[in-house]
């Protein structure tokens, strides 16, 4: 047969056409490890959550691999320490996608980093699941690849407002935030929510977290007739000063608000342990125990499973449980679809309904990527911390 330029061009076009129509995928894609990128602020000032999440991640990967992997594929966790720095998170994300060729990414664990990397992941259409609360991080139009495993700020806000109005029975509330960007915006949103629901916000303030004396603000709140004080701050120093001042004033108004009010750091800053009474911080039903000290059955089984393997006395159970669930959600997508392609994982997550995780039962749809059940955000008694779990605040059954 004569070989000329025309036959070479035709032959080449045929090969390319066949490739475009699709050959069967090579077997290597089905047997290669399932690579999960894990953007973790393992060191630095905000490392406590990531250290907790990581314990759940490691256990989940070990259990999956011990059971033969996901459809025979080993789960490989590719961890990058972002140190809580958005620039490092951006670099790590790009490296994970282009060099390490991960199939999905879990994290980052704080909203500042997540705001920086979410658009990058969206451009690459990489399946991403994260626990960051800032509302704008979930937008199914802009970021169809991003899913939230934890509640959003709105869900936190709803839970606090509902507890104040229904359980405490407060009609007049004081809303206090710190002077950080988070404190200002959270207090503003919270006040707007209370007003919308017909409650009276009798005092609203943003306090510098280093202000040594909280008497002026609490006196003003008391004079205004506040029946509950809602606190939006991550500063444990500010929280403790508020509790101490309330006790010195001989006032028994309840504090309701941010989870930092239940931080173990507060215990050492209190003038008396009793100053921590009547303080209710945001918690989760799955990680809260009842009056008899019992956790929900699924959480109880999980804690028993972790015994001897994972320390819980210096972390929070929800961090460990969420890390565990995130890896399992990625594995489940691959197991159910038999594929680790980006599109298939996202497509599967969009159909997840009441996935029975340890931290919560997640439901995602193409229009809603806030999968945490709103009813599972509850209030905990802030001074009841025990092995990363808290007692349900009064009023819950």
């Amino acid at each position: 047969m004569e070989t000329n330029r025309r036959s070479v061009v035709l032959g080449g076009a045929g090969v390319l056409g066949a490739a475009a129509l699709g050959f069967p995928k090579p077997a290597i894609a089905q047997s290669e490890p399932l690579r999960v990128g894990w953007l973790a602020a393992m060191t630095g000032p905000s490392s406590a959550p990531a250290v907790g999440f990581n314990r759940g991640v490691v256990v989940a990967a070990e259990l999956l691999n011990a059971a033969g992997g996901v459809k025979g594929r080993k789960v490989e966790i590719i961890t990058r320490d972002t140190q809580g720095d958005p620039t490092k998170a951006v670099n790590a994300t790009q490296e994970m996608i282009s060099q390490a060729k991960v199939h999905a990414i879990w994290g980052p664990t704080n909203s500042g980093e997540s705001l920086a990397v979410t658009p990058i992941m969206a451009r690459q259409k990489i399946p991403n699941i994260h626990p960051c609360v800032v509302n704008s991080l979930i937008d199914t139009k802009k970021y169809p690849n991003a899913f939230r495993i934890s509640p959003s700020n709105v869900q936190w806000d709803d839970a606090v407002r509902s507890y104040c109005l229904k359980q405490v029975g407060a009609k007049k509330v004081a809303v206090i935030g710190d002077t950080t960007g988070y404190g200002v915006s959270a207090a503003k949103d919270s006040s707007a929510g209370f007003k919308k629901d017909g409650a009276q916000v009798v005092y609203e303030a943003n306090i510098d977290a280093t202000q040594p004396d909280m008497t002026p603000d609490l006196l003003r709140a008391r004079q205004a007739g506040a029946e509950a004080i809602v606190v939006w701050s991550v500063s444990t120093g500010m929280d403790a000063r508020l509790f101490n001042t309330r006790a010195r004033m001989g006032w028994d108004v309840p504090f309701v608000g941010h989870p930092s009010m239940a931080s173990g750091e507060i215990a050492g800053l209190l003038e008396k342990p009793a100053n921590w009474e009547k303080v209710y911080a945001i918690g989760y039903r799955s990680c809260s125990y009842d009056d008899a000290g019992r956790l929900p059955p699924r959480s109880d089984a999980f804690v028993k499973q972790l015994k001897g393997k994972v320390e819980l006395n210096d972390t929070l159970l929800w961090w460990v449980a969420a890390g565990f669930d995130a890896i399992n959600l990625i594995a489940k997508a691959v197991a159910e679809t038999g594929s680790s392609s980006r599109e298939d994982i996202i497509k599967y997550w969009n159909t997840v309904s009441k996935y029975p995780g340890v931290y919560g039962e997640y439901t995602y749809t193409p229009e809603n990527h806030d999968g945490y059940p709103p009813g599972d955000v509850v209030m905990s008694a802030a001074n009841s911390g025990k092995d990363g779990t808290f007692k349900l605040a009064p009023g819950y059954s």
Binding site: P45, S46, T179, A205, N206, I207, D208, T210, Q211, P212, D213, T215, P216, D217, L219, R220, S235, T236, G237, A240, S263, E265, G268, L269
Partner: protein, 286 residues
């Protein structure tokens, strides 16, 4: 309300005043505004808590160790951030060098200590309540003791006279044979100890918290500006006035607006009296 303004305002004001005195002590022998003053105050609280609460050392010994450590940091600051830039004082490079040291101190503390506020020990075991609570009177008494001590040092001792001579005119002092460098190092050690006393005496109010440094840097600078640079009595008056005004503003306007009120008054005062309320315009022969 008046009671709270007086107790809390005077206590915090005394801490600000002591930080102002720390600024002045470093300035007098070097003509440098060292921005490590606030960090020395922060370290006073952190080291006090470290020695007494974490390591279980009795507080008098813990206090001495805290003073010694901060004096050492003062000396290191002089060597690292002040001495190399003295030749080009007019370029104000000390702003950068002392801020760099301040930042290093803060970051190191955040990594080695904690990023969360930690408790500071009760020193006298709960003697007194309310106005008599030690956390309110301790900074005021410490401030008074430091001022009396400095007055005695400057007026009654040869060393104090030498400090004053260097502060007045360091070229003339050197010409008279005074060891200007050694005196400067000693002044920085003294400033370190005074800064530590500020943080230690106010530890129960401010807690042992790494982020107190910038806060004290800002609010400790105001008494210096109000009272006149280098004027310790002015710093004390300015500091106490600042504390009282700040606490009053917290009651009257509250929250973020209290800080705005403080800085508004500060700017207004400087517009009316640029040399500070107790400072005097210096004449220079040309």
């Amino acid at each position: 309300m008046l009671y709270s303004i007086l107790t809390s305002g005077l206590a915090v004001g005394a801490v600000y005043a002591l930080i102002g005195v720390t600024y002045n002590t470093m300035f007098s022998t070097s003509r440098v505004m060292s921005f490590t003053a606030g960090q020395l105050g922060m370290l006073g609280g952190v080291l006090g808590s470290l020695f007494t609460l974490r390591l279980g050392i009795p507080w008098p010994l813990g206090l001495l160790l805290t003073l010694a450590c901060c004096a050492l940091i003062g000396i290191v600051t002089e060597f690292v951030a002040v001495r190399p830039v003295l030749k080009s004082l007019d370029q104000h490079l000390y702003v950068l060098s002392t801020l760099a040291v301040a930042l290093m101190i803060q970051q190191f503390t955040a990594i080695m200590w904690s990023t969360e506020p930690q408790p500071f020990p009760r020193l006298l075991g709960g003697i007194g309540q309310d106005l008599l609570d030690e956390k309110f009177w301790l900074p005021v008494v410490t401030c008074a003791a430091v001022i009396v001590g400095l007055e005695l040092l400057y007026r009654r001792t040869i060393l104090g006279h030498a400090f004053l001579a260097v502060a007045e005119d360091n070229f003339a002092a050197r010409a008279l044979g005074l060891p200007e460098r050694q005196l400067r190092v000693m002044a920085y050690a003294l400033a370190g100890a005074i800064g530590a006393l500020a943080g230690y005496s106010g530890g129960q109010l401010l807690l042992a918290f790494f982020a107190n440094g910038p806060h004290l840097n800002f609010y400790g600078f105001i008494p210096v500006a109000l009272g006149g640079l280098g004027n310790n009595r002015g710093a004390v008056v300015g500091g106490l006035a600042l504390g009282l005004f700040q606490q009053t503003a917290n009651f009257v306007v509250g929250g973020i607006f209290a800080s705005v009120a403080v800085f508004t008054i500060f700017i207004v005062v400087l517009l009316i009296a640029p040399q500070g309320l107790l400072g005097s315009a210096t004449a220079r022969r040309v």
